[in-house]
């Protein structure tokens, strides 16, 4: 029994943390708002370090890692509010492509795309065609995990076979779009497709949960720093009991969300039968904790938190968006009700 990262996982995470600290400061995220929603220096360095291919099998040129190894890295991406699609492309899509390597007829295209993902091309999975997809404009391909009239299927659609309806997000670095595919190659059908779609939905949700944990930690750190320095009525704001209380409450929510995220990663990595339940638990609590942290951060900052010249909003807006993406709290509670055998169908 050991509920903790291995030394190797810690080293990997620390390396990524260092990389991101150098290449994805708040000014880089601001620049992404004005640019194409990407922080290329960080992305390219992640590709070079092997992070984007971490889940690609070694045979296909990747590191052959698993969910447990990668989820801590997504927490780091959250901490710096890296807008680039590490979770959707290098985690969810890469894992799905890895599964496709086993699907007869799909192995070749899956291997080719796995290599491209590891090299830094973006592949974005779509599991719910009605939901906006962040960063869709920079995707080289869409992995369309949406059942057709004929049953479950997975399509791989090149960017030129994809139609985008661009939308504005409150988070200027996200660049969401509604996506539809006009063509593409069928790479899985039937049970295989259904399995890949479900697993991909889980990994999209868990990736967002991990980013939310990182965002939450960062918002709390910013706030603790601010209230420690900032003075009002002659003493640091942080010495007010009400401020301490709000921060402690939020820190508690975040501290107890983290282990759920780790557990879900472990379950996905080990093929636990309850993995989907664990993912819902993780995404539910990561979303509620992040909203809690955002609220406490804004309250404790006062008016300065309400300005775009201060950094807090970069993290807060990302947290809002991710808390709704890939299953908002209501959606995951609903999955959990079903998983725990509660219908809740009475409306008396």
């Amino acid at each position: 029994m050991r509920f903790e990262l291995t030394d190797d996982q810690v080293d990997f995470r620390d390396a990524v943390r260092g990389l991101l600290a150098d290449r994805c400061g708040p000014e880089a995220v601001r620049a992404a708002w004005d640019g194409d929603g990407r922080v290329r220096p960080a992305w390219d360095a992640l590709a070079e370090m092997g992070v984007l291919g971490a889940l690609v099998p070694e045979a296909a040129g990747g590191l052959g890692r698993d969910d447990e190894d990668v989820i801590p890295l997504l927490v780091e991406c959250g901490r710096v509010a890296l807008p680039d699609p590490v979770g959707p492309s290098a985690y969810a899509a890469a894992t799905a492509l890895g599964s496709l390597l086993e699907v007869p007829g799909a192995a070749e295209v899956a291997a080719a795309w796995s290599e491209r993902v590891a090299a830094g091309d973006v592949v974005l999975p779509v599991v719910d065609p009605s939901a906006p997809v962040a960063g869709a404009g920079t995707a080289a391909a869409i992995l369309w995990c949406v059942p057709s009239a004929a049953g479950p299927q997975v399509l791989l659609a090149d960017a030129d076979a994809v139609e985008l309806e661009s939308l504005d997000s409150v988070d200027g670095a996200r660049r969401p779009a509604r996506v539809s595919v006009l063509g593409g190659e069928v790479v899985a059908e039937g049970d295989a497709a259904a399995g890949i779609a479900a697993a991909t939905a889980d990994r999209l949700a868990l990736g967002a949960a991990a980013e939310l944990v990182g965002l939450s930690e960062r918002m709390l750190e910013l706030t603790v720093g601010y209230v420690g320095e900032r003075k009002q009525f002659g003493v640091p704001v942080g010495s007010f009991q009400a401020v301490k209380h709000q921060l402690a409450d939020a820190a508690l929510a975040v501290a107890f969300a983290g282990p759920l995220v780790s557990m879900a990663a472990h379950s996905l990595a080990t093929g636990d039968a309850d993995a989907s339940r664990h993912v819902s638990m993780a995404k539910l609590r990561a979303s509620t904790a992040a909203r809690h942290a955002a609220g406490a951060a804004l309250q404790c900052h006062g008016a300065i938190g309400y300005t775009v010249e201060y950094d807090l909003h970069l993290f807060m807006k990302r947290a809002w968006a991710l808390s709704y993406e890939h299953g908002d709290p209501d959606a995951h509670r609903s999955r959990l009700r079903a998983s725990l055998g509660l219908t809740g169908s009475s409306t008396n």
Partner: protein, 381 residues
């Protein structure tokens, strides 16, 4: 208990509703906190003033209708129900005007109030300073006496002044007695933003609009209030250059009266929240029709809607008390805490209804960002 409106009140409501139906801009104006939007809002303010809807509760001489508090409530209810534009003049009308009515000289009232209701003078508040935040008493901007010129010279920095970049005047506290402690030795100044030495720098708010400004004063001259004996034209010319509200060194008391009005009844009439609750209900019903409304979320909609109703009823009680001469007392701050949290809950419920689309830059997300400022400004809850 009597929850019926008099014939006069009903007629007032009808007049108001008819005018709003005919005049409320459609489509809605762009945000008044952007430069283009502000100009459009200014036009709207002028139209309101021409039809005498700008300040219904003020005396007719100042552009009002001498409306009762009940009529004011009716006006606000209709205004929000009609989806009429946000009032870009509100900081002057709701925060400064009550103090001018209470502390201003007759000359100041005659000079400033009609110009305010006509949206000729556009006032922003200069409460916060970089190192004072919502702690008004920590003001460090100072005013030094200039006896030769007959006035004061102001130096310092004000910040978080809403729409400051688009306004014409600022009101705020300056330290006139450097020796006095905290609350004492502050004076309430009225300052035109085109005075020599004033610099205004707009900056970005959470919702992306340039709605905040910093106001820098560098040796800005503000004359003493004109003597009663002064020729009216000369007095007006003096007041054009600014002035002092209340007594020198007594600004704290004046500001507190203003702050009370910010926290109290006048700033947030229930109509705004009932209108939001009603839009929330429409959104929930449309989600319900398309089979996307779960019971748990419906319950949150119900809770927020009930609270908007509770706020309206609480206000009716408050107004009854004020009309009958009872002071709301210590409970006057309840209002502000309740509406500011209510506004957040209403918008949160709406965003939850939108689900994956919540992040999109639509009216609910905009409104949410605005609502979040409620618990912050006018002091944190």
């Amino acid at each position: 208990m009597d929850l019926t409106w008099s014939d006069k009140e009903s007629a007032f409501r009808d007049e108001c509703r008819t005018w709003l139906e005919a005049n409320v801009p459609d489509p809605a104006l762009p945000s008044g906190d952007t430069r283009e939007g502000f100009a459009a809002h200014l036009e709207w303010e002028h139209r309101l003033h021409e039809a005498r809807w700008a300040v219904v509760s003020w005396p007719e001489a100042y552009g009002g209708r001498d409306a009762s508090l009940w009529e004011w409530l009716i006006f606000e209810e209709e205004y929000y129900r009609a989806g009429a534009p946000q009032r870009v003049t509100q900081n002057g009308i709701f925060l400064l005007a009550p103090s001018i009515f209470e502390f201003g000289t007759p000359a100041q009232q005659d000079h400033y109030l009609p110009r305010m209701s006509a949206a000729e003078d556009l006032w922003c508040q200069g409460w916060s300073e970089p190192n004072a935040g919502s702690d008004l008493a920590a003001v460090s901007s100072r005013a030094v006496r200039d006896d030769d010129a007959g006035g004061w010279r102001l130096t310092g920095q004000k910040t978080w002044t809403t729409r400051g970049a688009f306004c014409t005047h600022v009101f705020g506290l300056f330290r006139t007695d450097g020796e006095a402690e905290r609350h004492r030795g502050l004076t309430y100044f009225l300052v035109p933003l085109d005075a020599d030495g004033v610099t205004v720098r707009g900056f970005g708010r959470l919702d992306g609009d340039e709605g905040f400004a910093e106001v820098f004063c560098d040796d800005v001259f503000v004359p003493d209030n004109p003597a009663d004996s002064l020729d009216p034209a000369e007095a007006a010319a003096t007041m054009h250059r600014g002035g002092i509200l209340g007594e020198v060194h007594q600004g704290w008391g004046v500001a507190m009266a203003t702050t009370t009005s910010e926290r109290g009844l006048t700033l947030r009439s229930p109509g705004r929240f009932q209108a939001t609750a009603s839009r929330l209900l429409d959104l929930a019903r449309s989600c319900d029709e398309s089979g996307r409304l779960g019971e748990a979320l419906a319950d949150r909609v119900v809770d927020a809607w009930v609270d908007a109703e509770a706020y309206a009823l609480y206000t009716l009680g408050d107004v009854t008390g004020i009309v009958e001469g009872r002071s709301p007392g210590a409970k006057s701050s309840f209002n502000k805490i309740f509406w500011s949290e209510l506004d957040v809950r209403l918008h949160e419920a709406a965003l939850d209804l939108l689900g994956p689309d919540a992040e999109l830059d639509g009216p609910w997300m905009k409104g949410y960002e605005f609502a979040l400022s409620g618990p912050i400004y006018a002091g944190t809850n």
